[in-house]
């Protein structure tokens, strides 16, 4: 049975665009059209406002928590073309960096796997993707991929870190050579896969074509130890695709249609063990999907916003959606 265990009153004065739990589920970050980013401590069913961060000059679209090994670090992106990185120092939250390299709204931010260091990918309506890498002592290096998507980039999502060979016998002090990859979705209806080359430059590795309208979100599934890579994508065209690649070299991606919805699909996200995909659509619903043994994707639940105070029990019963 699913039940509401806590309702946090964020006191945002305008529309909330994103809410993200931190790594441990103890803190909640929210951002809104009221230009603020707020952080709450939500342990034990409580809600304590820890920070009310001002700095953006327009609606804030997304927030993203960095891995806890870097401390408490949060990134936010906004219509005001800025990406701000906030950090908690000595118990107070402050702006630690501001990135203004875009000409248009920044729509999406996503932190890379912690194994790579502290790296943030940002996708913008100016079509570019920028990558901010923390190099120490308050310094951030920027790499920019111009014209990653024509018209605009709506979403970025990193591939999980693949452990190359054996990490155990690395010579002391040396960083292992990871192959860094991420996916982006844009207004050119495409999903693109990017790979970092030996010289540190980012190159477009693959183009995934299947959508007939703007790609609104991409989500690379967490790794569960299988050789398959999986990406979910959703679009203005109402479709959600699951892309899989069994090939070790990562070249042969094949899409499977999860479902065609009647409205724009805005958001897709994977549970932490990658066994459930949540899809948020324009039809006021969030649907949860699971893959069955024979490879079919099955809707297991509808989470719907509505009136009334009763939460009915959610079944793990199945329905085959064709």
């Amino acid at each position: 049975m699913v039940s509401v265990i806590n309702t946090v009153d964020t006191s945002h004065e305008d529309m909330i665009h994103d809410a993200q739990m931190d790594y441990y589920g103890t803190r909640l970050a929210t951002c809104s059209s009221d230009r603020s980013v707020k952080i709450f401590d939500v342990r034990n069913g409580g809600q304590i406002l820890i920070a009310d961060l001002r700095g953006h000059e327009g609606p804030v679209w997304q927030v993203a928590w960095a891995h806890p090994m870097y401390g408490n670090v949060l990134a936010s992106c906004s219509y005001d073309r800025k990406v701000i990185i906030w950090k908690e120092e000595n118990g107070t939250w402050e702006k630690t960096h501001e990135h203004t390299g875009h000409d248009s709204s920044v729509n999406s931010v996503c932190w890379a796997p912690h194994d790579y260091g502290l790296i943030l990918a940002c996708g913008s309506s100016d079509g570019a993707i920028s990558l901010l890498t923390y190099s120490g002592l308050g310094q951030w290096e920027v790499k920019k991929i111009n014209s990653a998507h024509t018209i605009g980039c709506n979403a970025v999502s990193w591939a999980p870190a693949v452990v190359p060979g054996s990490l155990i016998d690395q010579p002391s002090g040396q960083k292992p050579n990871y192959i860094k990859k991420f996916a982006s979705g844009g207004c050119d209806n495409l999903i693109k896969l990017w790979k970092e080359e030996e010289d540190g430059q980012w190159k477009e590795e693959q183009k995934l074509e299947a959508h007939s309208d703007w790609v609104r979100d991409v989500a690379w599934a967490p790794s569960i130890g299988l050789p398959t890579s999986t990406i979910a994508s959703c679009s203005q065209d109402g479709r959600v695709f699951i892309w899989t690649c069994d090939d070790a070299s990562g070249n042969a991606w094949s899409p499977k249609l999860l479902h065609k919805f009647n409205d724009v699909v805005w958001h897709v996200s994977w549970s932490i063990t990658a066994n459930i995909l949540a899809v948020s659509g324009g039809d006021n619903k969030v649907t949860l999907w699971k893959e069955s043994v024979d490879g079919q994707w099955v809707c297991i639940s509808d989470v719907n916003k509505g009136q009334g105070s009763v939460s009915t029990s959610v079944t793990e019963g199945q329905q085959n959606e064709q």
Binding site: M1, V2, S3, V4, I5, N6, T7, V8, T10, H12, E13, I16, H17, A19, Q20, Y23, Y24, G25, L28, S33, P59, H67, P68, Y70, G71, L167, S172, G173, K175, I224, G225, W266, H267, I272, T273, S280, K285, V286, K290, S292, V298, C299, I300, S301, D302, N304, K305, G306, Q307, G308, S311, T312, S313, V314, T315, E316, G317, Q318, Q319, N320
Partner: protein, 611 residues
């Protein structure tokens, strides 16, 4: 492919309902977040301001119940015990042992039930009373179902004993109704039967018993026909009941709390030697007769019916739907799997239903601040996805105290989950550095075998030393042992501290050799050489000659190297050294001291060598 039934259920989130708003969703590590939003991004939201609420949703809220915790803890012990004795379960004793395990589970449920019942009637406040009552009926249903499954699937009672087991089952669960008559009805006749069955040391065969019973049954019928009881309608009714007349039984409906009580009573009087495979006929008709078309079967009824039909998968499926947590189906399915009753194919969501249910249950435990430890064992016994699920969940446990962190690390280390150990230690090490607890940071990075981080922390130590003139956490550095080899910088830190110790113990010659070797072996970073050379000063100015001529030459070479050397990024270059007055003075002093020492050492060595 299994047929699917029913639409996925819709969960409504309470909140302001506006047709224009959409729902934003995110996964937390153990829960889900939803809030109202509008995805159509415009600069100005021209609709009404949004709802400021964010709802945190979770499944398996039961994890937080105090009493159920006992259930989780004790059943965990039974579960692990069962997995461990699997290899030893052989032959005839296997069934007996599995039945014992089943009874253990049931006694745990009953203990929990009893406790919760006490709380429910304690009368604290209506809301929690109601909550407890709901839990009580839920647990009660679980025990009822489990008991039936034990009789039918695990005990696999054959015709004869089957009915007796069912009688016990009904009495145990139904005769909690405090109705004296029900007791009478239930207990009077079994005693009559006991004379027939004589179970302990029963030497009669089923056929013999059947014949006896037939004989008795016919006798009763004759009495009824002959109107022996005509004068007393009550006695007549009783006789009809004993003959298993359904109508007569149904007349006493108020005494029969439910259809399965009716079923067993009916079987007792009409078909006491019922065979397991025939049960479902009587079950279905009993259900129909009892409900009498007035009401429809409830979920519990469907579950019991599926059990009577020996459809194990249906039982598990219905229970998964009807019950609020995974505890019941996970443990029951695991036990049935040990009884080799589950087919391993044609199941959704994983090739193995047992594993699927155990994974779901264990994942739920990880949402709890201490029950996660139980979850670890469940993951251990899931051969396919247990390990990777554990890896993903264990990293998300908030490391609120050092004790908890150590517990988590122990779990990872025991299972050679090196990535997770590294990640967790790194998080703790960085937290320690930020709080200036360098010793703690160092131990964590050593535990993580993280060379890069050890170097970073060692640098901090050395910097601290330069600023304050002393070391912190001496105990730790003194006892590094082989861990010192993790990184060059750490080795230097350890050796440098050793130098100080030797100096403190007045073992000057050893200290001097060590100091020199730190530079010549390149272990010491060049940025530190000035400090090392400065440390050499007191040794050079001792009364006795400590550095040999050879060593002095080496030192001089190092000094010259440093002062005239190619400027390397990050190091003070020759120009800087010249410009800085303090540095210049130091260099001058060193040169003087080295020269003096050289002279003295040459003389000393020269005079030792006899001619």
């Amino acid at each position: 492919m299994e047929e699917l039934d029913g639409e996925p259920t819709v969960t409504l989130i309470p909140g302001v309902n506006s047709q224009k708003k959409q729902m934003c969703f995110d996964w937390g590590p153990g829960e889900m977040l939803v809030c109202e939003t509008s995805f159509n991004k415009k600069e100005k939201s021209d609709m009404m301001p949004g709802c400021p609420f964010i709802h945190i949703i979770r499944k398996n809220e039961d994890v937080y119940s105090q009493i159920l915790r006992k259930l989780f803890n004790e059943s965990h012990g039974i579960f692990v015990g069962l997995q461990r004795i699997e290899e030893e379960l052989t032959g005839k004793s296997r069934k007996a042992q599995l039945v014992r395990v089943s009874k253990n589970y049931r006694s745990v449920i009953r203990a929990c039930l009893e406790e919760m019942h006490q709380l429910a009637i304690a009368g604290k406040d209506p809301a929690s009373d109601r909550q407890f009552s709901i839990q009580v009926s839920s647990l009660s249903a679980m025990e009822l179902i489990w008991n039936l499954c034990e009789i039918l699937f695990i005990e696999v009672a054959p015709a004869g004993p089957l009915l007796l087991h069912l009688l016990d089952w009904v009495q145990l669960h139904v005769c909690e109704v405090d109705s004296l008559s029900a007791d009478v009805l239930g207990s009077e006749n079994p005693s009559k039967h006991e004379r027939f069955w004589n179970l302990p040391g029963n030497t009669q065969t089923l056929t013999e018993l059947e014949l006896k019973w037939q004989h008795w049954h016919e006798g009763c019928e004759r009495h009824l026909q002959d109107g022996t009881f005509a004068s007393s309608p009550h006695l007549e009714s009783l006789c009809k009941i004993m003959l298993g007349d359904e109508a007569a039984l149904l007349e006493q409906k108020e005494l029969l709390s439910n259809w399965y009580h009716f079923l067993v009573t009916r079987l007792l009087y009409s078909h006491p030697t019922v065979k397991p495979m025939d049960l479902h006929f009587y079950a279905q008709s009993s259900l129909d007769l009892f409900l009498g078309g007035e009401s429809s079967p409830e979920p519990l009824d469907n579950i019991l019916m599926a059990a009577f039909e020996f459809d194990i998968h249906q039982v598990i499926k219905e229970c998964s739907i009807a019950l609020s947590n995974w505890w019941f189906v996970a443990h029951l399915t695991d036990l049935l799997d040990h009884c080799k009753l589950l087919q391993s194919h044609n199941l959704y969501f994983g090739s193995n239903m047992r594993e699927f249910l155990l994974l779901e249950y264990a994942s739920g435990l990880f949402a709890h601040h201490s029950l996660w430890q139980l979850g670890v064992d469940y993951f251990d016994y899931c051969p396919e996805l247990g390990r990777v699920s554990l890896e993903l969940h264990i990293e998300r446990i908030p490391l609120s105290t050092e004790q908890k962190a150590l517990k988590v690390l122990r779990v990872c280390e025991q299972r050679q989950m090196t990535e997770q150990v590294r990640s967790i230690c790194k998080i703790l090490a960085m937290k320690a550095v930020r709080n200036n607890r360098l010793g703690s940071a160092l131990s964590w990075s050593i535990r993580a075998k993280d060379a890069a981080f050890a170097t970073l922390v060692s640098d901090r130590f050395l910097r601290d030393y330069c600023e304050r003139g002393c070391f912190s956490d001496l105990d730790l550095i003194d006892n590094l042992g082989p861990a010192m080899m993790l990184s060059d910088r750490l080795t230097f830190l350890g050796k440098y501290r050793e130098f100080h110790r030797l100096y403190g113990e007045k073992r000057f010659v050893d200290a001097a050799s060590l100091l020199l070797s730190l530079m010549t072996s390149q272990i010491a970073p060049r940025t530190f050489w000035m400090t090392l050379l400065t440390d050499a000063l007191p040794l050079l100015e001792q009364k006795q000659v400590i550095f040999s001529a050879e060593q002095t030459y080496e030192l001089m070479r190092c000094l010259e190297d440093l002062t005239s050397g190619r400027p390397v990024r990050g190091e003070p270059d020759a120009q800087q050294l010249q410009d800085d007055d303090v540095e210049t003075t130091k260099v001058e002093m060193l040169r003087l001291a080295l020269a003096r020492n050289l002279a003295r050492s040459i003389v000393k060595e020269g005079s030792l060598e006899g001619s």
